[in-house]
């Protein structure tokens, strides 16, 4: 067990490319931390720095309280699951699992016990004599996981381990990895570009963009209090609606509608000079059809364009004051195309951003 600390980590390629830019992050002992972000944001690079497969350009990396910048991968006590699995094709599943243990000169009986245990946990007993070529994608994926767990390392590193699986298997394996983590309690850094995976698996999520850390926090913190427009738009599915408004005292002018604010939201609006542009954000699932007077919600009119029926819910695409707005509503609302409706967003679900700095103005 160990913590992993990124202390002002930089990774540069040549002069121009900064793949990881001043990353500061502490992964707690036993934590499941998900690194998430769009393609090319430096997740893999950050993970490979921890593995020791990439030289760190600047900063200190600690595993436990040991600085490991110059420690070889084999001496870092880590195990990694690669996106392509990277199973040894010339070895049987058994030997794939046993390889790391043999290199550590563990005795035969202990190796056998660990391999059998690991295979048992992952349901691989039947395949121990097979070569990787004779396995399905999902089975290979489990061998890759097995190879990591039998080593009993202090940190697991996983780079998009589910991206080669089909949708159903991905959900299953997601649960399997979560269960494995509960059982073993090993510190894990998990890379994905899929925010659903991040939300469902992570104790904490670290959102990155262009090599820069955007926000770290529990899934709920990220969902409820995104610090900037990028995180707000990245976390949550379908993603958050954004619209431009103008500040007027402690209210906001949204096209022809006036959003009357209270509490933290009102203070945020007040902090901007009158007439200044302010970006508001609200999630599709927080939108309701307004009924009667309710002081704790902002409301605005909208015209429905498209209705996507999803079963118990409907995805409503509507035009509100010149902005496209997506709302997720229970199907029994019976909204039809072309309807004019009043939409309401609960006050505390309204996010307010500074369009220049892109940072949140609330909180």
């Amino acid at each position: 067990m160990a913590t992993v600390t990124f202390d002002h980590i930089y990774k540069r390629y040549g002069q121009d490319v900064i793949a990881v830019n001043d990353l500061n992050l502490e992964v707690k002992d036993g934590e499941f931390l998900v690194l998430v972000g769009p393609s090319g944001c430096g997740k893999t690079t950050a993970l490979r720095c921890v593995a020791g497969l990439e030289d760190i350009s600047d900063g200190r990396l600690l595993i436990g309280d040991r600085v490991v910048n110059n420690v070889a991968p084999k001496d870092r006590d880590i195990a990694m699951v690669f996106q392509s699995y990277a199973l040894y094709p010339h070895m049987t599943v058994y030997d794939n699992l046993a390889f790391g243990l043999k290199l550590r000169k563990m005795n035969k009986a202990e190796i056998d016990k660990r391999v059998k245990d690991g295979a048992g946990i992952l349901g691989l007993e039947k395949f121990l004599d097979r070569k990787p070529k004779a396995l399905s994608g999902g089975q290979r994926q489990r061998v890759a996981l097995g190879r990591a767990i039998v080593r009993e390392p202090s940190v697991f590193l996983m780079d998009e381990p589910l991206s080669n699986l089909d949708a159903k298997l991905r959900v299953q394996t997601r649960a399997e990895i979560a269960r494995l983590h509960q059982r073993l309690g090993t510190t894990t850094i998990y890379v994905t570009h899929d925010q659903v995976e991040a939300m469902t698996m992570g104790d904490r999520i670290c959102v990155m963009k262009d090599g820069l850390l955007q926000q770290v926090g529990s899934p709920q913190e990220l969902y409820d209090h995104p610090v900037n427009i990028f995180v707000a738009g990245f976390i949550g599915s379908p993603s958050m609606n954004f619209a431009t408004t103008k500040s007027e005292g402690k209210d906001l002018i949204f096209g022809g509608a006036k959003l009357e604010l209270t509490g933290a939201q009102a203070r945020a609006a007040e902090s901007r000079p009158d007439g200044a542009q302010v970006l508001i954000g609200f999630r599709p699932e927080h939108i309701e059809i307004a009924n009667g007077q309710d002081g704790s919600a902002v409301r605005f009119p909208a015209k429905v364009d498209v209705v996507e029926y999803l079963g118990n819910e409907e995805l409503i695409h509507a035009q509100a004051e010149g902005n496209e707005v997506v709302a997720l509503l229970p199907s029994d609302r019976k909204v039809g195309v072309g309807d004019n409706v009043d939409l309401a967003v609960p006050m505390e679900k309204l996010h307010i951003f500074d369009p220049e700095s892109e940072k949140t103005l609330v909180g």
């Binding site: 593995a51 020791g52 497969l53 070889a72 991968p73 084999k74 870092r76 880590i78 195990a79 990694m80 690669f82 392509s84 990277a86 040894y88 094709p89 010339h90 390889f99 790391g100 290199l103 550590r104 190879r147 080593r151």
Partner: protein, 320 residues
């Protein structure tokens, strides 16, 4: 070009495809009467027939002919039984030839593969990879004769000409006669062969190396392997099929070695190998019987290599 040659060229260009088409039509006409299922089994054999016929004429027949000549006298006039073979076996210089060829087989093959492998693995990790590889591959493009001449200068006795002896002179050592003392001279010839063939081994092995994914090596490193363990436990086993291909090619080259020996020593000073022995017997001594016996021995030596190769080929087919 006179008219006859032209006519022959036209005949070749038009005639060969025409004969091929006619042959296919003829086989179709032949199998026409058979039920569809039988046709499918018989057709491939009919199509293979011409290839087998050519093989028979150009390979099997000469082989048999050589075997027959090897039990005839030097003018191929009368049957002498195994006298040619017994003559060879009773001759010390024959056994020396076998010993030299064995040296070629072991040293040449072994060192070419090992150096080729080392260079391939090392150049895989440097930035100026292509430059280094080109440099090492260049000797492959030089003819054996030219290589023999170049290395002839290297091995020259006179320190003013011979690079090796010049080197010895700078450290105050006596100049050596590199090509007259056995077994040193054969080793020196083998070095020339190695210089020429390492490039080939390197290029093929390095292509094989590129086929091994870096993630695999990284996985092994994380699993706790040192660079040497990565090499011996991951790279080497995965490269085994490629090494086998290079190995067979080099073994056959070693068995057929002729040019280097012929150019540099003409087989004198006990540097004779099987192929140069054959040349001497056939074209210098004019002894067709003995020469054929040597050829048969060379053939027999190559058969096990061929068998190993065929077996490996079948295994690979089975793996796909």
């Amino acid at each position: 070009m006179d008219f006859g040659t032209l006519g022959f060229a036209v005949l070749a260009i038009v005639g060969v495809p025409a004969v091929t088409v006619l042959y296919i039509l003829a086989t179709e006409w032949l199998v026409r009467g058979l039920p569809e299922r039988r046709r499918a089994t018989i057709r491939p054999w009919l199509w293979l027939l011409p290839a087998f016929a050519f093989l028979g004429v150009y390979l099997i027949y000469p082989m048999i002919q050589t075997a027959i000549l090897s039990v005839m006298d030097r003018r191929s006039e009368s049957f002498v039984g195994f006298d040619n073979y017994l003559g060879l076996f009773g001759n010390d210089s024959f056994w020396l030839t076998i010993a030299n060829t064995a040296m070629w087989l072991v040293l040449f093959t072994g060192i070419v593969i090992v150096i080729g492998l080392i260079v391939a693995v090392l150049t895989d990790r440097v930035r100026y990879e292509t430059g280094v590889k080109a440099l090492i591959f260049i000797p492959m493009a030089i003819s054996f004769v030219a290589a023999g001449v170049i290395w002839g200068f290297m091995y020259e006795f006179d320190p003013d000409i011979g690079t090796l002896n010049a080197g010895l002179a700078t450290v105050g050592a006596e100049p050596q006669s590199w090509l007259t003392e056995w077994p040193r001279n054969t080793v020196m010839l083998i070095i020339v062969g190695i210089w020429m063939w390492v490039g080939f081994a390197m290029v093929i092995l390095s292509a094989g190396l590129k086929g091994i994914s870096t993630e695999l090596l990284e996985a092994a490193r994380i699993d706790g392997a040192t660079e040497l363990q990565v090499f011996f436990r991951i790279i080497l086993p995965l490269l085994a099929p490629t090494i086998a291909v290079v190995g067979t090619t080099i073994v056959i080259t070693a068995l057929k070695t002729f040019d280097i020996v012929f150019v540099m020593t003409s087989g004198n000073f006990d540097t004779e190998v099987i192929a140069s022995l054959f040349y001497r017997a056939r074209f210098i001594n004019g002894d067709v019987g003995s020469a054929s016996a040597v050829a048969v021995i060379l053939l027999l030596a190559i058969i096990p290599v061929m068998l190993i190769n065929i077996r490996r080929f079948q295994q690979q087919e089975a793996m796909r």
